[in-house]
Symmetry: C2
Subunit: 93 residues, 2 copies
């Protein structure tokens, strides 16, 4: 879970997630909308993927990124837990 919070801590990564909210997009499409060098962006993709916040599917030479909503929901639940508003589950590390 710490991976997820780490991933959420960078504004570019939050923007990526937001762009993927409506539909899956290729790395190139995302690059068109974000305007930072591709290697930098690719690094952010890797962080999101390591946290399992996004998944990938290769279609020919392009790689499609899709939001993994269930993991995002877990993060949401963890925050609700911190706030004490709901769904507890005792032990977070």
């Amino acid at each position: 879970m710490s991976d997820v919070f780490d991933a959420l801590a960078h504004p570019v990564r939050r923007k990526i997630l937001k762009l993927l909210r409506r539909r899956a997009m290729s790395a190139g499409e995302l690059a068109d909308k974000i305007d930072i060098p591709k290697p930098t962006l690719s690094g952010h993709f890797a962080v999101l993927k390591a946290a399992d916040l996004v998944g990938t599917e290769r279609q020919g030479t392009t790689i499609i990124y899709r939001l993994n909503m269930s993991v995002l929901e877990e993060a949401l639940a963890a925050m609700l837990d911190i706030a004490g508003l709901r769904g507890a589950k005792p032990g977070e590390k």
Copy 2:
């Protein structure tokens, strides 16, 4: 808002917030429950305070930390926005 996500990215800081969920506590009380050196902990307090996730009140020699629920709720809203589940508000930086 980025300050808030940065602050949430560290497990010790999330633990602090969780401990403050029920009631405000002094730095010393928190230190009793967390078991890392006090200077380290104090640094985490400073990050949380800079993000306005906690507020302080001095009572004699002790400093009382209290959770700032409204800011935590803002973070929650930002996450709901990423997930597209609710409360949008167009421009995040």
